[in-house]
Symmetry: C2
Subunit: 220 residues, 2 copies
Amino acid sequence: MKSEKISDAVVRRLPVYLRFLNELSRREVPTVSSQELGQKLDLNPAQIRKDLAYFGDFGRKGIGYDVSYLIEKIRQILNLDQQINVALIGAGNLGQALSNYNAYLKDNMKIVAVFDASPEKIGSQINNITIQPIEVLVDAVKGNHIRIGIITVPDVEAQRVADQLVAAGIEAILNFAPTILKVPAGVRVHAADFTTDLISLAYYLDGGKERSEHDSKMVD
Amino acid sequence: MKSEKISDAVVRRLPVYLRFLNELSRREVPTVSSQELGQKLDLNPAQIRKDLAYFGDFGRKGIGYDVSYLIEKIRQILNLDQQINVALIGAGNLGQALSNYNAYLKDNMKIVAVFDASPEKIGSQINNITIQPIEVLVDAVKGNHIRIGIITVPDVEAQRVADQLVAAGIEAILNFAPTILKVPAGVRVHAADFTTDLISLAYYLDGGKERSEHDSKMVD
DNA sequence: TAGATTGTTAATCGATTAACAATC
DNA sequence: TAGATTGTTAATCGATTAACAATC
């Protein structure tokens, strides 16, 4: 256990660990070693041990990590031991898809409010939540202890929505718009724009790019 | 211009540059400096210059970068100067949302085939593309010069779909399922699972989390 | 005990940033 | 020319990996 500050790279691996641990738990596997974790998650075992050791001594030498205990600890670290209210802004295709994922997020995160700008959507329901006009966003966020905002509005509106979220005291934003949001220090923004991921994939296509040999041996 | 191998971090910034350059182009801005770029994109100007210099001498000392020229060059680097056919596997909410984004991707990437496992979806259309059964995936990918696959099937099916894509000779995969896919070297996989991004945001919520102090003296 | 595996330090590797000569 | 800005080297910073004593 140290008390350095934790890098974002480390934090982003925690949900990955948690996900796999949950699977082990379902399968009633009692313990797991950093080696097994590393194998399944394509990570170096030393890195996993180091990541976990930032937060405490969760493992037992010679044994590994108790699955249930580690789940509990990671959930604490990630603040998932309390319900976290989330707002979704933008009820288009993507927004609707995300709000349906809600069910999967049994991680104590819950979309409790949905906002949209277009009058014809307002008042209709997504997943039992009534779509509200963006005009009431600030009050609704303040009034419902909403701490995270998910932005799925079109590009050009994203910054404006972010500004309103910030004005409402939001603590973190997941931004699906392909825009670099400007927010004050203290508000955390994660980019979730998949077009960046998709387009960068194209770089690795073998279109005359000099690249290392790639054999087509299958992994079984 | 060097000829080292380019890191993934660099490659992932290229689409970000491209996006902003396209905006400048729309606004008919003729040139841009690394400093302006850095300001808008929250990046260090030296980093931007270094990134671009891996691929060529695109700038002019004292002037900056010609917007149109740089767009052209980055598009070449990213293989976007040719049409790239993409398959979408999984026509659920998310898949449908993505296929509608198709319009936005005027970057020469096109979803040309959609697959799904559920019989009731097969034959219906998304965005003018008829949904096909997964059984024909391998042949369809081979036959239509499809080079990238986007996986939006449920968790448990993701690896199986990936295996089929690999069997069909896919070159790259964008994976929305929260699973670490095992693929042979030479096939590039980018994770696009937003639950990881969302959950890791929770870490930064301030539940008393300047937490260099967080006692975990646990007696086992 | 013998084997396994952690937690942690040290070594390595890689990525970012600063600095500046070159030059438009 | 004077000011601006690149491309690139060197310095710094940070993250990953190797190694191993501790110990279950």
